[in-house]
Structure formats: C-alpha cells, structure tokens
C-alpha cells in the first residue's frame, strides 16, 4: 500500500483520456489510468494504494470513468487538499472515499500512511494530519454502500425535504 502523489488541478482527462470513454469496465479502464501523464501508475498500482493530491483534484469532465479507472486500479481512498465538485460526488457514488486534508501536500510520494477515519486523521511521517468530515447527507450514502445500494432500498423519494450540510 503506497502513496501516489500528484500536484494541483489534476483533471479527468489526465486520469482517463477521452479516447477510452467507450469503455465502462473498471479493470479495463484502469489499464489506461494516467496514460501519458504517469504511465507507471497503471503498471504498478496495487490494491489499497492511495492517491494524494493538491488542490482541485478531478476537475473537468463529469465522466465517471475517472473514479472507475482508479477503482479498477485498486484505489479506495483519494486524499486531496480540495476536490472538484463532480468528481467528489462521483467518487462517493462508485465507492471511493474522497478525503479532504489541508496538509495533503506534505505527504510524500511512495510513503506509507495510515488513515484513521473514525478519529479523523491521517498518520504520515509520524505526524497526525486532520481530515475534514464528509457532509452528513453523503455519509448516509457511504454508509449504505454507495448510491446504487442507497437507491435500491427506496421506492420513491420525498422531495424538498432538507437538512443543513
């Protein structure tokens, strides 16, 4: 389990190039993840590896192929200083946990880290880096096991019910 470190503004075209969007299978997509940007990722990413990035991870397209490609490569957690909005929701929907951590840039490439979800921090290089809680309504979806599982149990939804984020 290792950290793959990326910079700011990693866009969805970098995560999965447009020419592979006819594919929907996570494993097949994973073979092209970060193609031309960081080729060794597809070759050597292992189950449980973690992506760590700077600001605005996943900006650009709404293509769900991006989190699916990461999922297919074995990634279950992405830690970033901040996320682009559509990617953030897509990640949760496909079963990847996006964690916002202001100190993400201090985590080193190739290092081993431990994520302590319940206590809200990441252990990296002997330091505890706090992670921001996931908004309550999205936590409900994560707890259900993703949006598909959440939706399966619903006959209909009650609209205009609300809560504070």
């Amino acid at each position: 389990m290792r950290v793959w470190k990326f910079g700011d503004n990693i866009d969805t075209d970098a995560i999965i190039p447009g020419r592979y969007l006819v594919i929907y299978d996570p494993r097949t997509l994973a073979a092209h993840a970060f193609e031309g940007t960081r080729d060794e990722f597809a070759e050597s990413a292992r189950e449980g590896d973690i992506i760590v990035a700077g600001r605005n991870f996943g900006c650009g397209s709404s293509r769900e192929h991006a989190p699916l490609a990461l999922l297919g490569a074995g990634v279950r957690v992405v830690i970033a200083r901040s996320f682009a909005r559509i990617f953030y929701r897509n990640a949760i929907n496909v079963g990847i946990l996006p964690l916002v951590c202001r100190d993400a840039p201090s985590i080193e490439d190739g290092s081993a880290i431990a994520v302590h979800l319940r206590d809200g921090y990441i252990e990296s290089g002997g330091k505890k880096l706090p992670i921001e809680p996931v908004p309550a309504f999205l936590q409900e979806i994560i707890d259900a096991g993703g949006l598909v599982e959440y939706a399966k149990k619903l006959e209909r939804v009650e609209t205009c019910t609300g809560s504070q984020s």
């Binding site: 447009g18 969007l21 006819v22 949006l147 939804v157």
Partner: protein, 416 residues
C-alpha cells in the same frame, strides 16, 4: 430575507424558503444524457432497480460526442441507448442534431427558474436561459432517471459584474477567459456564478451561452444570467414563455463579488495546460500552430462562425494549418450555410465537419500528435485533451482563431 437568484429558484421549486448551504432533494425539470455518459447511467438506473423512468418527457437523449460512430464500441453504445429510448418511450431522442447543450437551448428545453441536470459538466450552459443547471455523473443520473430528483447542496453565489461594451474584435469569450484567469480553476468550487452588469445585460444569447458554458472551468456548480428581455425574446417561439423575471434581491448575500470592465478588454488566450493560465494575445503572438478548431458548445454557433468569417474576409487559411470548423448544431450549420459562411470557410481551405463535439472531446477525430500545437475555441486546454499528452492546446475566441489560422501563428485579430 433577501435571497440570491439561485436561492429563489430552489425556494420556488420547493414552495418554501431554501437557503445556501441547505441540502435538498429537489425535483428536476429536465435530465440530459449523451452517448458517452448515457450507457453507464442506464446501467446504474437498472442496478438501482429502475424499470420505468420518472417521466419520459423530461428526459433528453442525444448523440454528439461520437457522431457518426467512430468505432464499433461507439456504434454499440448508440444502439444500446436507442433501444433504451424506445423501451422507455422517451420522445426526445436526437441522433444527429448536434452538440447536446446547443440542442437543449435551441429547442427551448431549458427555461428560467428550472432545475436541470445533465450527465455532462458543461450543462451549466443552460444558465443562459435563466435555469439552474448543473453537470452530474452517471450514477447520479441513474438516480435521477429513476426518481426525477437529486440531492443538491444549494450553493452560495459569487457575483460577477461586467460593465461597458466590447471594443472591436473582442467579445464574450475574451471576457469569460479573463474571468477564469482572475478567479482561477477552483475559484468558484461548489458555488454558483451570477453574471450581471451592463455587459451581460446587453449581451446576446449566444454570448451568454459562451460565458455560462465556462462556469465549470472555475469549478462552479452553475453559471446563470438573470433572465430578462433578451432571454424572453430567445425563448419566444421555442417554448411557452410565461417569463419569469427573476433576479437576486437587493441586499442578497454573495460569497464574493468581482468587477470587470469590458471596455478595457483585449483578446485573451488561455495557454497550456490550464484554463486559468490566461494572457493577453500579445504574450503568445507568433507561436506557430498546426491546427485550429472553430466549434464546440462554447463557440460553435452561427454568431461565432460569422465572427471568424468576418475576420477571414476573402483570404485563405495558411497552407500549413489544419483548420477544422464544426457548427454546434444542424440548425446553426444551415444558418451559416445560407449566409455563405460555410462556402467562405471551404474556399479558404477549412475542413468543415458535420455537427458534433469533434476534436474537443479528444476521442473522435482531429487528434494531435506529440509536439503539435492547437488553437481552439473550445473550453478546455488540459494536457491530452485533444490527443497526445505531449501536444499543446491554446484557447481563444473565434476572431483570434481565424486571424491565427490565416497567419499560421497566434495572431491578434485586431491586426489582420
């Protein structure tokens, strides 16, 4: 309490006061799905136990990213979606009309005060019609197809105020590039952008579409121009226009406010590989180019083609440049054809293609080789967006694209 335009839209839909920061399960007025994101959305809809879509009349299914099909997989996806449309009796299935966002707008399917979702990030373009419109992923779309509603966190609004009229050969694309440069690629994440001020009030609908289209390039959830007389005139004949005049209340709370002056604006170019790396055209003038693309949902309308043709005049494009022109829709294509613009482009050496996303999506045709440089009127210059990750894409207005295509290098459109 004073409310923003976006808060008002959610409040009207819900019949109670809804504020920024609140999470609501809001009903949607329209759901747009295209050939790239559609198959997965349908699959998710089925996995969720969906059998009948919430309302076939509120769904638009179109093919535009890979039209005509450029691979057997793409053709298969089209067949799959056509079957779904027939099975679900979805009346709005467009196989060949053009780019999804343009078609939704010109068919009058987006209107003031509506909440619209699309499985495409540039769905925010419908803010030009006064709708709250946002891009979502395929699983979220699966949920919408089943329930006709989705969780939204009602966004705060950043107000963009632009005043004054544009100088010659400078227009909406230069303005939105300037705004993107100032706010940054994540300057509006999770927020809505409201475009106001005299520049937007006097801007035509195509210009408003160009600006709203690029809201997502700043991370925004939506971009919106308060619907007014210009909106009403555009929508008349396209849909029922019991126009809804909507705007933010005086005293409404904005997260931030930015001012821009259109009078001082010069042609802008976004340099590789980020949309917010925006410079004055003079900074990159003289850069040799291999390809020029005039098209996309950002700038593929008649007005854009005309702007490029006006700059072109009776000249030819530079022999070493591939100039690809793609009208955003069949309707826009016909308008340009009848105005003699298409003939002008073809005579000048352009490759004019049928309406579709073309090189913008980086998967169909018009791809770039390593080391090649493209100048494009589209909305994204990410590394690899139009082919090789070792190619470079610059973004600009149709006027700058045409001037540069004549010279074979990036050129200030005021100097040709």
């Amino acid at each position: 309490m004073a409310a923003t335009l976006v808060e008002k839209i959610f409040s009207q839909k819900c019949g109670r006061s809804v504020r920024a920061g609140e999470v609501v399960m809001a009903p949607v007025d329209l759901a747009m799905v295209h050939d790239i994101t559609g198959p997965l959305a349908v699959q998710k809809f089925r996995e969720m136990g969906g059998t009948r879509v919430f309302d076939p009349g509120k769904i638009v299914l179109l093919f535009d990213h890979q039209v005509p099909a450029d691979s057997i997989s793409a053709a298969n996806n089209h067949v799959f979606l056509r079957k779904f449309a027939i099975e679900q009796e979805i009346p709005n299935l467009d196989l060949r009309e053009g780019i999804c966002h343009q078609v939704v707008m010109e068919r009058g399917r987006a209107g003031p005060g509506e909440i619209i979702v699309g499985a495409d990030s540039h769905t925010c373009m419908y803010g030009a019609a006064g709708a709250f419109a946002t891009g979502i992923g395929s699983t979220d779309m699966g949920f919408v197809l089943k329930f006709g509603a989705l969780y939204f966190r009602v966004p705060e609004t950043i107000r963009i105020v632009a005043t004054g009229t544009f100088p010659p050969r400078v227009g909406p694309k230069d303005l939105i590039l300037e705004i993107t440069g100032r706010l940054g690629a994540d300057g509006a994440t999770y927020q809505a952008l409201e475009f106001t001020g005299s520049t937007f009030q006097t801007m035509d609908m195509p210009g408003r579409m160009t600006c709203c289209n690029m809201a997502v390039e700043m991370g925004a959830k939506a971009g919106i121009v308060p619907p007014d007389r210009v909106t009403g005139e555009y929508l008349a004949g396209r849909r029922d226009t019991s126009l809804v005049s909507l705007s933010s209340d005086p005293g409404a709370r904005f997260a931030q406010e930015y001012s821009f002056n259109a009078e001082d604006l010069t042609p802008r170019v976004a340099v590789p590989h980020n949309v917010d790396q925006v410079v004055d055209v003079s900074r990159v003038a003289g850069t040799p180019i291999d390809q020029v693309f005039i098209g996309s949902c950002t700038n593929g309308r008649f007005e854009d083609l005309k702007e490029a043709a006006d700059v072109l005049g009776n000249r030819s494009f530079h022999p070493s440049v591939r100039v690809i022109v793609i009208p955003a829709s069949r309707t826009e294509y016909l308008k340009a054809l009848r105005a003699g613009i298409i003939e002008k482009f073809v005579s000048a050496g352009a490759l004019v293609e049928a309406p579709c996303c073309g090189p913008c999506m980086g998967g169909a045709f018009g791809l770039l080789a390593p080391g090649e440089v493209s100048l494009s009127t589209s909305n994204r210059n990410f590394r690899g967006r139009q082919g090789s990750t070792e190619a470079s894409v610059y973004l600009c207005s149709p006027a700058t694209a045409a001037a540069s295509a004549i010279n074979g290098q990036i050129t200030d459109p005021r100097e040709v």
